[in-house]
């Protein structure tokens, strides 16, 4: 069992999405004044399956955060297309096999830099998305309070972000995203700014929360351990210009916790990913040295 208190049984899934995110030969190149254009993202094709957690791992500068911003719609790709598909068959009784294009699912992001509004209290930060959506005050505060309780921050509602530790701030960030009940949760190196111990605890907590909510999640991370602990699928990217080097299936049993890291299958996955990343990181360091 996970040592993290879980108030609701794992079966209570809320916002279930059926939309598959299909990234088809997507790339992004910025023109630059000094001749050579900057390739922010090479050519990437992948799919993010509904209700699954997909981790994207790769060396610095490979474009994994760029890919996340493209999926979110904040960056427009210069090549390829991004599609949102409703796939027939899988799970459904009528096997209407042709995929159907649908509207973009509702997404919410957890940021590496937290990006909390410093002039808003914790609860007002969490309620921000509901406030702009026009949810009445009493309701949005009640929902925000519940979301805060889910990340063990009950009692901190009236504090300001500056009064919290890094780990607590990111839990506010997680609550702020989850309160929107997103169909897709985007995690952009969510624990990158935290110390190693806080990171471990939050990884476990997030694993439980994501599992319980049943959302599709895309996790961009530098940490192999984090990717294995949280994801169902791990995409390993190459050094710049970033492409997908491998798609690795992670079928370690749930719920996962720190104990999972002692599983021999964990070690096997770790070694495989590390083997792939090692060459890429070395390659990235070599080209970065050349750039600078």
């Amino acid at each position: 069992m996970s040592p993290v208190p879980s108030p609701a049984p794992a079966a209570a899934r809320t916002a279930t999405s059926a939309t598959t995110i299909a990234v088809e030969a997507v790339g992004l190149t910025f023109p630059s004044k000094s001749g050579e254009p900057t390739v922010a993202l090479g050519e990437v094709s992948c799919r993010f399956a509904p209700g699954k957690v997909t981790a994207i791992i790769g060396p610095s500068g490979c474009g994994k955060s760029t890919l996340l911003q493209i999926v979110r719609g904040f960056l427009a790709p210069t090549r390829g297309t991004l599609r949102f598909l409703l796939l027939g068959g899988d799970g459904a009784t009528d096997a209407a096999a042709t995929p159907r294009d649908v509207a973009a699912p509702h997404m919410a992001t957890v940021w590496q830099a937290f990006n909390l509004f410093p002039w808003r209290t914790v609860i007002d930060n969490v309620a921000f998305g509901l406030e702009v959506a026009g949810v009445p005050k009493a309701e949005r505060l009640a929902r925000a309070r519940k979301a805060l309780a889910a990340v063990d921050l009950g009692g901190f509602e009236q504090k300001y972000p500056r009064q919290l530790s890094g780990g607590m701030r990111q839990r506010v960030g997680i609550a702020r995203a989850l309160v929107m009940e997103p169909e897709v949760l985007l995690l952009d190196e969510p624990f990158g700014a935290l110390d190693a111990q806080t990171r471990l605890v939050l990884q476990e907590q997030l694993a439980t929360l994501v599992e319980r909510s049943g959302t599709t999640a895309i996790l961009v991370t530098h940490s192999i351990e984090e990717a294995i602990l949280l994801a169902d699928t791990i995409l390993v990217m190459t050094a710049r210009p970033g492409r997908i080097a491998a798609e690795i299936h992670d079928d370690l049993p749930h719920p996962r916790s720190m104990a999972t890291t002692h599983d021999p299958r964990f070690a096997a996955l770790f070694d495989r990913i590390y083997g792939l990343l090692r060459q890429e990181v070395i390659r990235a360091m070599a080209t970065e040295g050349g750039d600078a």
């Binding site: 997404m107 940021w111 990006n115 998305g129 959506a133 500056r162």
Partner: protein, 276 residues
């Protein structure tokens, strides 16, 4: 506890136990008491110096006489009317400048085109000493209320615009992205992210601007010379009523103190999220 009561980052009012048995001398040494004691000492020295050196009151009247003159002017000399007129001119113009300044500043900060259009005008008008506009404004507007409101507005407008633009441009882009991610529209981002994050900077602009407005209104009143503290000051000087000159200066200095303290209080209230 150490007897050192210096207020500062090291002093922690929460943990310091109350010390009722502290001596009078120690209490007089407290920074707050000390700042008022210094004022009292200077005034007393002034009073004594005038008496002992038998100075001509046309050059330097005694503080006690100045206070008497001040009360006389308020009681029967209509100084209250002048004070009110000056205040209305200062704050009337200031609030117009604040409303338009923040609006233009936001617009400039979020639209490259508006900024391009406004930039050169602001670059030309901001450093121009606004008192130099008094003759032109009198030609255009006369010497009545519109003139006074305009000169006051001109003083506060530019610092407010410039600081609003600055504050919004310095807003953390991560916060804007987070707001967009949570579904905020452009208007909501301006109202709920850009403006609040620019408040410290806008407040710095208000401090500068209100100061300039006060200077300009009093200077304009001295030039036009009918009603207002500036007019009273100028007229008293013309007839060598030095006590009245000092009395008006005291009113102006007090106005400055009140304005500063009120700004401090609002600043603390709006910026409470910045302190722990």
């Amino acid at each position: 506890m150490s007897p050192d009561t210096t207020a500062g980052p090291l002093a922690s009012p929460d943990t310091a136990p109350a010390a009722p048995s502290r001596g009078l001398l120690a209490r007089l040494g407290e920074p707050k008491a000390l700042s008022w004691i210094a004022v009292a000492v200077v005034i007393l020295a002034w009073e004594l110096a005038v008496i002992v050196l038998q100075l001509n009151p046309i050059y330097l009247p005694r503080p006690s006489r100045i206070v008497v003159a001040l009360f006389e002017m308020f009681r029967s000399g209509g100084l209250a009317t002048d004070l009110i007129a000056t205040l209305i001119r200062i704050f009337g113009g200031f609030f117009i400048a604040l409303a338009f300044g923040v609006a233009l500043g936001v617009w400039m900060a979020v639209s490259v085109r508006v900024r391009a259009i406004a930039d050169n005008f602001i670059a030309a008008l901001y450093p121009l000493p606004k008192v130099t506009l008094i003759p032109l404004l009198i030609i255009w507007l006369g010497t009545g209320g519109p003139f006074m409101l305009t000169i006051s507005m001109l003083g506060a407008f530019f610092p407010v615009v410039i600081n609003t633009v600055l504050g919004i441009s310095q807003c953390d882009q991560g916060l804007v992205l987070a707001a967009r991610d949570l579904g905020a529209s452009r208007r909501q981002i301006i109202r709920m992210v850009l403006l609040p994050s620019a408040i410290p900077s806008i407040f710095a602009g208000i401090r500068l601007g209100l100061g300039v407005s006060i200077i300009l209104v009093v200077a304009a009143e001295m030039v036009v010379g009918k009603l207002g503290l500036g007019a009273r000051l100028y007229l008293a000087g013309q007839v060598l009523e030095t006590e009245q000159v000092f009395a008006v200066l005291i009113v102006l200095a007090t106005l400055g103190i009140v304005v500063t303290k009120v700004q401090d209080a609002i600043d603390v209230r709006l910026g409470h999220w910045r302190v722990n």
